[in-house]
Structure formats: structure tokens, C-alpha cells
């Protein structure tokens, strides 16, 4: 405050003596109740600090014993309790009946979408689009171990080549070149034959040589027309979807060194209801059989 009382020339009011670039602040007294309101907020803050954990580095938990983590846990517990009846219905209902029940299906698609983003999207991509190099698309109609909802549920539960689950889906393609079962020339011929299954052979002679080798070494699993087999997880070779690449170099590599992806057995980590919801969600992507 200025020592000398100043008056504003225009209004005749006293100024506070505060000046900014030649502009002086008039003294317009604040009502006292406003001041008391301000003091009340200070009291409020003090009370707050006593009731809630507000003081840093003291470890003080506050009289109410409130923690953000505790609140989160309560919210989670409440959420679990609220969803439990629906999850129990899902556990008790076979997958085909879930798909036939609009209410259960809508619930499972929504829940499955969230669970998918959490557990599956890392390999299979958002929306189940898959990725080159052994991560199958779940939106197309090409299924290695079977695309019926029950097959998919089985796959999610027990995984593929999952060491931790004795019931896992497993099969092993031989490493034809690496283990000396075929020569490089023979591998080339078989590759030409495989290409011919989708009408893409470049060397008809090699393809016909390869047909004999294929019938002897490959047809048992992949089928004589390359139609594949869900029982042993042998992919179709006569379609347009190639998990590890459909060009000749990729096919040669597959025959020479074999392929075989791995998927965890989720039955040991996820609630059966969640696995059912994941199945329904994957079914909703449109590619299931």
C-alpha cells in the first residue's frame, strides 16, 4: 500500500497505489463475506488434508483410510459382481446356443472384442487381420485347425503346440531338405506341383515330376488335391490364402525347413466365459465355417 492516499481524477475514488503502465487500480472494497468464503476454503483444505492422504512423503493415509487403489478395487469388484450372472450364463450355454441367442451373442461380441484386444491382437492384429509370417487372419475363411465355432473354442482353450498343455493341438511338418529326405531338385519339383494346384506352375515338366513326390510325401496330410486337413492342422494348398507366402521361394522354404506356429493355451489363463466370448467375437468377424 502506498503511504500517501491517492485519488483517481475521474471517479474521485481512492486508489490502492498499485500501478501498471500508468493505469492505477481503484480501491473497490471486496465484501467481507467473500473474504470469509476464502477463509472457509482454507479450512476446507486443512480438513481435507486430515481426512484424505494429501501430505507427500509422510505416509499419512488420512482418517478415512482412502486410497485410489482401494477405490479401483471396489469398482472392479462391483463390476465383477454385475457381470457375473451373464458370464455364468455364458459358461453354462454351449457355443452354438450362444450364437442363436441374440442377447447373449451381443453381450459376447462386446466382451469378446475387449478380450481380443487384450490377449489376441498382439499376434492376430486388431480386428483379427493377421500378419504375414505365421499369424493367421481370423477374418478370412481359411482355417488350419478348423473354423467351426467349437473348433475355434478348442484352439483357444488348448493352444497350438503349446508346451504347457498336454491336450494342445500339435503336428509337425518334416524338414524335407534340412533332414535329407528330399534333394533340392526334388523340393523344386514339389514346389512347382504345389503352384500348379492354384494354376500357377511355370514348369509343367517339373510339376508333373513333383506330383509323384507330393503323392508320396505330402498328400497324407495336405490331401491329394491339396485340400488340407483340419485334423492334423495341415493348411490348404489349393487356395489363395498363404500364411507364410505363396510365391515359389516361400513355398520352397516351407518344404525345405518346415513351418509350425505356436499359440498359447488360454484355457489355463482365461475364464471359460471369456474364451466363449472370444469365440463369438471371432465368429462375428465373418470368416467362420
Amino acid at each position: 500500500m502506498a503511504n500517501k492516499i491517492e485519488h483517481d481524477a475521474v471517479t474521485g475514488r481512492q486508489t490502492t497505489g498499485h500501478e501498471w503502465d500508468g493505469i492505477k487500480e481503484l480501491n473497490t472494497p471486496l465484501p467481507k463475506w467473500w473474504l470469509w468464503t476464502f477463509y472457509a476454503t482454507i479450512v476446507f483444505a486443512v480438513v481435507w488434508c486430515i481426512l484424505y492422504p494429501a501430505l507427500p512423503f509422510t505416509g499419512a493415509t488420512g482418517l478415512l483410510g482412502y486410497t485410489g487403489r482401494g477405490e479401483g478395487e471396489q469398482a472392479l469388484a462391483a463390476h465383477r459382481a454385475a457381470t457375473e450372472p451373464m458370464l455364468e450364463r455364458l459358461r453354462q450355454t454351449e457355443i452354438e446356443q450362444v450364437l442363436a441367442d441374440p442377447e447373449l451373442r451381443a453381450y459376447a461380441v462386446a466382451g469378446g472384442r475387449a478380450a481380443f484386444a487384450n490377449t489376441c491382437a498382439g499376434c492376430h492384429g486388431a480386428g483379427g487381420q493377421g500378419a504375414q509370417g505365421g499369424f493367421p487372419s481370423l477374418a478370412d475363411d481359411d482355417w488350419i485347425w478348423g473354423g467351426k465355432p467349437a473348433d475355434i473354442e478348442q484352439t483357444i482353450r488348448h493352444g497350438i503346440r503349446a508346451a504347457e498343455d498336454p491336450e494342445t493341438r500339435t503336428s509337425q511338418m518334416p524338414r524335407f531338405l534340412a533332414d535329407g529326405m528330399l534333394t533340392a531338385a526334388q523340393v523344386n519339383d514339389v514346389a512347382e506341383h504345389v503352384l500348379s494346384l492354384t494354376g500357377r506352375a511355370t514348369d509343367a515338366e517339373a510339376a508333373s515330376r513333383g506330383a509323384a513326390i507330393y503323392a508320396e510325401n505330402c498328400a497324407a496330410c495336405h490331401g491329394d488335391q491339396g485340400q488340407g486337413s483340419h485334423e492334423v492342422g495341415a493348411p490348404r494348398l489349393n487356395d489363395q490364402v498363404w500364411l507364410y507366402g505363396g510365391d515359389k521361394a516361400s513355398i520352397v522354404r516351407s518344404i525345405s525347413y518346415a513351418r509350425g506356429g505356436v499359440m498359447p493355451a488360454w484355457g489355463q489363463r482365461l475364464d471359460p466365459a471369456v474364451i466363449r466370448m472370444l469365440t463369438v467375437y471371432i465368429h462375428s468377424l465373418g470368416g467362420t465355417e
Binding site: M1, I5, G12, R13, Q14, T16, N27, P29, L30, P31, K32, W33, W34, L35, L99, P102, R105, A106, G125, A126, G127, G128, Q129, G130, S137, A139, D140, D141, D142, R236, D239, Q240, V241, H283, S284, L285, G286, G287
Partner: protein
């Protein structure tokens, strides 16, 4: 009381003004007159609408709320008579707020602070509370006497208690009416009487009860002067042609006794100050604390009538007219001689000004846009969300599939079955809706809508390998048809994507 004998500020000696001021209590006196009657009418209308509107019924058919005005938070619906708004249409509320703001701007530019003085809830409820206070505690003088007493006797205490009880009762009715707008009123009242109300209802009831009691009973003019932002910038809407509550200084000055020679018409009776709900002296001119309620006009008119002088010493008047009258009467002696020439110098206030044209134009544009939007609302809406992961799916036979999420909103209250078509794709394109096996005679998949809600369906569109489009992006139109008659109800544009050629 301090207010009466507070020394004029110019008489203060050089004492530093304190930084914090004690509140000067205002004891408004009862007043009768035209403005007061208008204020009672506005008050009665506003309060009647507020308290009774939730009880108005409006038949919307079975399963629908029958309350005329209802904000249904649980189901996300706003009902206003025949209009039902969904949360995604909140822009109608925005439009309403814009309309309200511009209407207040327009009213202010024409008539000053009529909103503040007549229709603002703070003014309406304060007026109601003051009326109750007057009924129980008596008029200005009785109240001032009571508050100055060093000790209250039993009658004083009983009156104070009765007043606060009545205020709280009104406040509770106000808070009670508020929650009725968000719940079915009869049901809520029944539940409340049975002691069964949710914490949210109780919380809002308490909040509005408390604020009504506090703001209308205790804070009153302090809200207008210190809390409300509107008085701070309302001057921007007013100009010299706005009709504002004004003291005709050219006629009233110099103030003096009724029979004093050379005195103007103002007898300095302070009636205008005594009736003022914010405690200002209108004779000081336009000021922040004046809410433009015009009660001083009634007070002054009644005094002038008693003195046999014409009314209108204080009136709704423009600054232009004040200046014109001032100029016309400057040379005349004060008092009766000034009245005729002063009033003759006035001109009819200019209603049509650039700013009023602009305000009306904005009002018309916004109101027109809202009306057009309401009138053109379709009962069935379609939103199409293209799947982006994956952009497209190549199937084992080489065909290409795109998938779309269809959101079908249906405002009607019965489920409808609609056919889906996709235009712009080659022959042989296959449509499939996940979860719906049904199709009509033409092979188009059928979907059902959700009554008064949004149904979600996934549409799979597959183009066979032999007919794939050349471009990586093809424009398509997804359309909803009534199966019978093929009438198109809604459509959306989207694209069908494939690999780059």
C-alpha cells in the same frame, strides 16, 4: 441504520478506504404501481411454469414416459411435448442457449436490463422471499427496528423463525421441483413420501434447496453485484437509444422541499431508494448495481401523484432523450416551467437500429436452422462404419470381402424389418449380415431396427474373384429399403477397398 446516515463519499476526510467492506443490509419497502404489477405477473407466470410443468402429462403411447417435459438421464432421452431428443442431438440445446443469449442481448439493447429486473431466477425468487419476509416480519421500518434491537423478545424470535421456516419450505419445493424434471413426477413424489429416493435425487434436491435458501434469502443483491458476470458486460449491448430506468435530472434538479422556491420536482423523499431491492440511488445515473427492475418508478410516481405533479420523474427513458430534454430546459427555471418543454424535446425511441437488426437477424437464422433441423429429421437413420482392421479380407477362393458396421437408429416405437442394398458394385456381389439369416424375395438381407434406439449389424460384402473392380477403391452407397415398395429410408456413402493394382 448505517445506510441512511452514511456520509457522502466526498465528505470523507483523508482516511484510507478499507480493502474489505461490511455488507450494508437492504430493507426494501413495499410499493404499488404499474411496474410492480407487471413484476408480480412475470413472477407468477415464471414460478407457475417452473413448479407445475413437471406435472403436465403427454401421451406417447405404451412403454414411453407420459411426462410432457422430462430429461431421462438413465435412458439418454429428452422429452419436450411432441419432441424427443437423443444425446447425439445436443446441438438443439446449444441452439436454444444461443437463442436465449441473443434474445437477452436484443432485449437489453431495447429496454436495458429487463432480464435482470423481471425474469432472472435470482430476481424472481428474491422477490418471492422478500414478499414472504414482508408478510411475516412487516415492512421496511418494522424490519429495521427489529434488527436494531439489542435483544429480541419472543415475538421477534417467533417471526424470524417463521420467516426462515417459510423460506426453507419454498426452497425445498424449488429443489423438489427441480428433480421432477429428471424423474417421473408422480412416481418420484410417491417414492419420496415412502422414503425411497436415490442418493442422486437427494443430492440434487439438497443442492437446489440449499442454493435457493442461500441465494434468495441471504445473498440477494450480493449475487447481482458481486457474483454475476452479466452486469459487467451488459453495457456493451446498450446504447443511447436503449430505454433504461432513468431519473430525469433536468426535471428533478435541484432537489428541494415541495414548496421551496427554485427547486426542481424531486423532493428528495428517498422513496426511490427505500424501495430499491439492491439499495442504489437511481438519481446517481446508470450503475452496475441497478438491476433495472423499475420499482423506483412506481415509488416516485406515487409521490408525484400525491404532490399533484405529473408522473414520470423516474421512467424508462433513453440517454438521447435525457440529453435532448436537458438541452431544451437548461435556460428555464427549475420546476413546473421545465416539464412541458422538456417532455416536448423528446423523440420516440429508435427501435430499429443496426444492433437490433443484427440481433433479430441472428435470432432468425438460429431459430430457422433449428426449426428446419427439427422438421427434416428422419425417423430412421443410418451410420456406416467401415472396418479398418482389416481394410479388406481375401478369401480362399480369391474373392474379396469388406465389412461394415451398420448403426440403425429408429425413432419409431415399433421394430421394423428393412432390406439392405449396396449400390455401385458388380453383379454377383454377395451381401451377408452377421447374425441375420433372413432375406427378402429379391435375396437382399434383412435387418431389424431397435424401437426408439440404435441397432448394430455387421454387413459383409463379398465380390467374387472373377468380378473384382480394377481400382483399389470403389464408391458404394449402402441403402436401407422398406421390403415392400422399395422405399429408401436412409442411405450412406462409403467405399469398397481392395489391394492396390
Amino acid at each position: 441504520m448505517g445506510m441512511l446516515d452514511a456520509p457522502d463519499r466526498h465528505e470523507l476526510e483523508e482516511v484510507s478506504t478499507p480493502l474489505y467492506a461490511n455488507r450494508v443490509r437492504v430493507y426494501p419497502q413495499a410499493v404499488q404501481g404499474r411496474v410492480r404489477r407487471a413484476k408480480w405477473a412475470v413472477l407468477a407466470f415464471c414460478l407457475a411454469v417452473y413448479y407445475l410443468l413437471p406435472w403436465l402429462r403427454w401421451d406417447r403411447g405404451p412403454g414411453q414416459p407420459d411426462q410432457a417435459v422430462l430429461v431421462d438421464m438413465a435412458h439418454g432421452r429428452l422429452f419436450f411435448f411432441w419432441i424427443e431428443l437423443w444425446p447425439q442431438e445436443v446441438y438443439y440445446l446449444t441452439g436454444l442457449l444461443v437463442l436465449g443469449a441473443v434474445a437477452i442481448f436484443a432485449a437489453t439493447s431495447l429496454f436495458g436490463r429487463v432480464w435482470c429486473g423481471f425474469a432472472c431466477p435470482q430476481t424472481v425468487w428474491t422477490d418471492l422471499f422478500m414478499w414472504v419476509e414482508r408478510l411475516i416480519e412487516g415492512d421496511r421500518n418494522a424490519r429495521m427496528r427489529r434488527d436494531r434491537k439489542p435483544r429480541w423478545d419472543w415475538s421477534d424470535r417467533a417471526r424470524k423463525l417463521a420467516k426462515h421456516g417459510a423460506w426453507l419450505l419454498i426452497a425445498m419445493l424449488t429443489g423438489g421441483a427441480w428433480v421432477m424434471y429428471f424423474n417421473d413426477a408422480p412416481t418420484l413424489l410417491r417414492d419420496a413420501l415412502a422414503g425411497d429416493v436415490s442418493l442422486a435425487v437427494l443430492g440434487f434436491f439438497g443442492l437446489f434447496t440449499g442454493t435457493t435458501y442461500l441465494l434468495a434469502g441471504w445473498a440477494r443483491e450480493q449475487v447481482c453485484t458481486y457474483m454475476c458476470p452479466w452486469p459487467r458486460f451488459q453495457a456493451a449491448m446498450m446504447d443511447a437509444d436503449s430505454l433504461i430506468v432513468s431519473y430525469r435530472g433536468w426535471r428533478g434538479e435541484p432537489r428541494g422541499k415541495a414548496r421551496a422556491a427554485g427547486a426542481g420536482d424531486c423532493v428528495d423523499c428517498r422513496a426511490c431508494v427505500n424501495v430499491c431491492p439492491t439499495g442504489v440511488d437511481i438519481r446517481d445515473g446508470v450503475q452496475l448495481s441497478c438491476i433495472g427492475c423499475g420499482l423506483c418508478i412506481d415509488a416516485c410516481d406515487s409521490i408525484m401523484t400525491k404532490l399533484g405533479r405529473p408522473e414520470g420523474l423516474i421512467a424508462f427513458e433513453t440517454l438521447n432523450n435525457l440529453a435532448a430534454s436537458e438541452a431544451a430546459t437548461a435556460m428555464l427555471p427549475p420546476g413546473a416551467a421545465r416539464r412541458g418543454p422538456g417532455m416536448a424535446a423528446r423523440q420516440a425511441p429508435r427501435i430499429l437500429r443496426t444492433r437490433t437488426y443484427l440481433y433479430v437477424a441472428v435470432l432468425c437464422v438460429v431459430a430457422g436452422a433449428m426449426l428446419a433441423g427439427l422438421a427434416l429429421r428422419q425417423p430412421v437413420g443410418l451410420e456406416v462404419l467401415r472396418d479398418r482392421a482389416p481394410l479388406f479380407v481375401k478369401l480362399s477362393d480369391g474373392s474379396l470381402r469388406n465389412s461394415y458396421t451398420l448403426k440403425l437408429s429408429d425413432r419409431r416405437h415399433e421394430a421394423a424389418t428393412l432390406a439392405v442394398t449396396v449400390e455401385g458394385l458388380p453383379e454377383g456381389t454377395h451381401l451377408q449380415v452377421v447374425g441375420s439369416e433372413a432375406s427378402d424375395a429379391a435375396g437382399r438381407p434383412l435387418v431389424t431396427t431397435k424401437p426408439d434406439g440404435v441397432a448394430e449389424w455387421r454387413l459383409l460384402v463379398t465380390i467374387p474373384a472373377g468380378a473384382l473392380p480394377q481400382a483399389d477403391s470403389t464408391d458404394v452407397t449402402i441403402r436401407l429399403l422398406e421390403p415392400a415398395g422399395d422405399r429408401s429410408l436412409a442411405s450412406q456413402h462409403s467405399v469398397f477397398l481392395g489391394p492396390k493394382p
